[in-house]
């Protein structure tokens, strides 16, 4: 285990490309971030943003053919990218574990859940069957499965969606990983169950001081449960900040647009939602300059020529890439100019794209 000060995960210049009939597709484009012990990082993005591919690249779970992934990924001082397949397998479980979106798909339907929880421990820690079973029962208890002694011999289809996800979390935690990645762990679950599962993840994380990467498309989910948030779009990190800072001071237009387009329960009925017109860009032939420019209210001609440099906000942990950030002088000026030029209508919404 690393000391508190050193980051558990360091990602440097990570790029992942897929080979497609039309050409190479850059799903993750040169991103860098780090994660300290005990920290919960939220990764927010829509489909196509590259958030899931990032997680899988970090874990090196991508298929070998048609995929190229390079960059630096260092977990607990170990360079993951240079590991042999055997060493990689040894790493999965004890070092780094992942919880996926679809609990039924993540579990082997013909294997008892107790055996599935025990599997990791028996492989990585060499435990014998009886001990592993006892530990599994305790693990199931700790993730909130009632009467674990009885349920340890159940099959996945006998459990509800929420229960299954708890089992998946138990499996992930079974080898005491140094890093837990949860990729949309609650998207397939009801909202009441979602709250329970997120509570569980939070408990497990704080209890063990284990760093957690929580990937989701739901800004609401990251708001209450993460220390830092990273917003991804088209394979790039658009904005990153401490969670409280991000929600207080959104600088990147995409983050702002995302926030504005979500219906909030507090708002009265029939509030008109601000939309982000258009679609995510084609990553096989990506546009020049800022990838969000064509859908951005603040975009000016410079945005399409070159990619904005990284800027730091008032809070040093707040980074974003934008020429005309929200709430700044340049940003306001850009907005005004766009309205005058007719790119935006009087309400400040984009014209012409549906």
């Amino acid at each position: 285990m690393s000391s508190r000060k050193e980051p558990v995960l360091v990602v440097e210049n990570l790029t992942t490309e897929f080979a497609t009939p039309g050409g190479p597709l850059k799903a993750v484009d040169n991103i860098s971030f780090s994660l300290k012990q005990g920290q919960a990082l939220g990764v927010v993005g829509e489909s196509g943003s590259g958030k899931s591919v990032t997680a899988r690249s970090v874990m090196r779970l991508l298929p070998k053919s048609n995929v190229v992934s390079h960059g630096g990924v260092i977990i607990d001082g170990i360079d993951v990218m240079s590991l042999s397949p055997k060493a990689l397998r040894a790493m999965w479980g004890p070092q780094i574990a992942m919880v996926f979106q679809d609990p039924l798909g993540s579990l082997n339907p013909v294997m008892k859940i107790g055996d599935q929880v025990s599997e990791g421990m028996r492989i990585h820690q060499g435990m014998n069957k009886r001990n592993a079973r006892a530990v599994s029962i305790e693990l199931l208890r700790s993730v909130g499965i009632p009467s674990p002694e009885a349920r340890v011999d159940d099959y996945p289809h006998q459990l509800s969606g929420g229960m299954r996800q708890r089992v998946v979390i138990a499996i992930a935690l079974s080898c005491n990983p140094n890093l837990l990645i949860a990729d949309e762990p609650t998207t397939a679950l009801d909202v009441t169950v979602q709250a329970q599962i997120l509570d569980l993840l939070q408990d497990q994380q704080r209890g063990g001081l284990m760093p957690l990467i929580l990937i989701t498309h739901d800004l609401g989910v990251v708001a209450g449960r993460t220390d830092e948030v990273m917003v991804m779009y088209a394979g790039r990190i658009m904005e990153r900040a401490a969670t409280k800072t991000l929600f207080a001071v959104m600088r990147h237009p995409y983050t702002e647009a995302l926030f504005r387009s979500i219906p909030k329960i507090e708002y009265p009925s029939h509030t008109k939602l601000a939309t982000i017109p258009g679609r995510p860009p084609d990553m096989v032939n990506p546009p020049q300059g800022c990838k969000f420019a064509e859908r951005c209210r603040y975009a000016r001609p410079e945005c399409r020529e070159e990619e904005p440099p990284l800027r730091i906000g008032i809070d040093p942990s707040h980074e974003f890439r934008c020429f005309f950030p929200v709430g700044t002088k340049e940003g306001e000026a850009a907005l005004q100019a766009n309205i005058e030029e007719g790119r935006l209508d009087e309400d400040g919404e984009l014209v012409g794209i549906s």
């Binding site: 909202v191 009441t192 709250a195 609401g220 209450g224 979500i262 909030k264 008109k272 017109p277």
Partner: protein
């Protein structure tokens, strides 16, 4: 929780849709278990409003939507659309009401046929409607009638089968007796009874045999199958019947059947081959000719095709009997014939399709533009080439092309990205205003439902909990479940403590729902009354209805 109760239904002459006491149940497995998907739900819809139906998985909201559409009809209850009771309509009349009530689905790409171009997908409702109004090709009508006949026959054939088999067995025995009587097996033993027996007995037996023979054959067939097919399957098809009875009947009728087969083969084995062949050829030619004619309505094509089809049929039946060059000519000829028929047919069908397309194109283009899709580069594309949001727009266009009054939106934005959700929600609002629609909006996301609805009904495990306007629903929920739902919603505000949501427990099984109030197993306010008595929906505040004995607003139920 509610269930029984229609207190929240309003009396208005502008009510477009009224659902009363709807029950939808599905049998599951072979043990007679039933999933109570929707249990006594009532809703109403006034012209121009959006009713939001919200709940988590298993609450029955999607099932309600589909039952309203009659796909399939609910197990019981009434659905009245514009003064027409839908549940009792025969299929033909129901089909004619379809344009008025349309539906939009959850998975946008799945809701479009992957093998059709967009122009056909959007135009299809028009084509169906025109076909209904202007008549369909004869072959289509004929096949339909055949299908209906087959299904009716199947129902008749299988329903009383548990009686048919024993009767069939009996009938076979009688048949055997009549055969024996015909051969006068017992002539010698009967003595003076011989003549009366023959006069009376034989005709009776013969008639009985003739009537019973089809029954017998039927019963025999099924009984014979029973020998091969697992008993569970057979009893499911035939209805409950005891194993021993089944086996007994099976053996008996199998024997009788063997007898029958032997006799039959003996009788026709002597027939000459050529009448059979001729009949087969004539039949084939007629069938093909009819087919072509009804597909093409073109006499010239028909006669050419029919004449050449003769050769094609001959090929199959005679090829083994010919040698040498005639055989080659036959083969070659039939290849040419088949290709010719195929080309002709294809051409005719293509021409028909082009005519339909041309007729519907203006409306299709207009519809596409209305929903925000550029017709120029989308008409010939297939669904997979579109993103989720665009595909949903296509679905909306398809639903709107028939000019409906009511649209049921079944989770239309759940499968879409957040930023696209807003686009589609705005589009729906726009369409609603522009075309004067009335919507039923089904979703699990309370924030989304609140945003679009004028009235919200919360459902849990097949029952309606609470009906109210969206704003007061959020500000002061009346039902404990609503409160639990609201508390569980993650707020995009980092300063709020995300924990403390009082969601406890798991959803009970819809096969064995809890007695009394179905929510009581997870409700912190549950008392003994909730176990014994099902709450009826009632008004607890101005325009607020709840089904709870101890609601958060209003008084304890009397």
């Amino acid at each position: 929780m509610a269930g029984s109760g229609t207190a929240h239904l309003r009396d208005s002459d502008k009510t477009l849709l009224r659902v009363e006491n709807m029950v939808v149940e599905f049998p599951i497995g072979q043990t007679g278990d039933v999933v109570h998907a929707v249990s006594d739900v009532s809703l109403d819809l006034i012209e121009g409003e959006t009713l939001g139906l919200v709940g988590e998985s298993g609450c029955g909201k999607s099932t309600t939507g589909k039952a309203i559409m009659q796909v399939p009809s609910p197990t019981s209850g009434s659905v009245v659309l514009d003064n027409t009771e839908l549940t009792t309509l025969d299929p033909e009349t129901l089909r004619r009401t379809r344009p008025v009530l349309q539906m939009i689905f959850q998975d946008p790409i799945s809701a479009l046929n992957p093998r059709r171009p967009v122009r056909d997908i959007i135009a299809e409702p028009l084509w169906i409607w025109w076909e209904e109004q202007e008549g369909r090709p004869a072959i289509s009508v004929a096949l339909d009638r055949l299908g209906v006949f087959c299904r009716k026959a199947a129902t008749i054939l299988t329903k009383p089968l548990k009686y048919v088999i024993p009767f069939g067995a009996l009938a076979m025995v009688l048949w055997v007796i009549s055969e024996a009587a015909e051969e006068r097996r017992f002539e010698d033993q009967l003595g003076w009874l011989d003549v009366p027996a023959r006069i009376v007995g034989f005709p009776v037996l013969a008639i009985l045999g003739a009537v019973a023979a089809p029954l017998a054959l039927l019963g025999a067939t099924w009984a014979l199958l029973a020998l091969f097919v697992p008993f569970g399957v057979m009893s499911r098809v035939l209805g409950k019947m005891s194993r021993s009875l089944g086996v007994f009947a099976a053996v008996l009728t199998a024997l009788a059947w063997a007898f029958l087969v032997w006799r039959t083969w003996n009788s026709i084995a002597g027939w000459p081959a050529w009448p059979v062949r001729a009949a087969a050829i004539i039949f084939t030619v007629m069938a093909i000719a009819l087919l072509i004619q009804s597909l093409t309505k073109n006499v010239a094509a028909t006669s050419v095709a029919a004449a050449l089809a003769t050769l094609a049929a001959v090929e199959v039946f005679y090829i083994s009997g010919l040698d040498g060059v005639p055989k080659l000519i036959m083969l070659g000829g039939s290849v040419i014939v088949n290709t010719a028929i195929f080309t002709v047919l294809r051409g005719q069908l293509a021409a028909r399709r082009e005519a339909l397309r041309a007729r519907s194109e203006p409306k299709v283009r207009q519809m596409l533009e209305t929903v925000g899709i550029n017709p120029e580069n989308s008409l010939d594309r297939k669904p997979f080439e579109f993103s989720g949001g665009q595909a949903q727009r296509l679905s909306i266009a398809r639903a709107l092309i028939m000019d409906p009054k009511v649209i049921i939106c079944d989770e239309p934005v759940s499968a879409l990205d957040v930023s696209v959700q807003a686009q589609i929600l705005n589009l729906l609002e726009e369409m609603k205003v522009r075309y004067g629609l009335t919507l039923v909006f089904i979703a699990h996301d309370l924030a989304v439902v609140k945003n679009v609805s004028d009235r919200v009904a919360v459902m849990y495990l097949g029952k309606v909990c609470e009906v109210s306007d969206p704003n007061s629903l959020y500000e002061a929920p009346a039902h404990p479940y609503t409160q639990m739902l609201i508390a569980a919603i993650p707020h995009p505000d980092p300063h709020l403590d995300a924990r403390g949501a009082e969601s406890t427990g798991e959803l009970p099984s819809p096969i064995h729902p809890p007695s009394g109030c179905r929510f009581r197993t997870r409700c912190t306010l549950a008392q003994e009354r909730c176990t014994n008595e099902e709450p009826i929906i009632r008004e607890v505040a101005e325009k607020r209805y709840v089904a709870c004995h101890f609601p958060l607003i209003g008084e304890v139920a009397p």
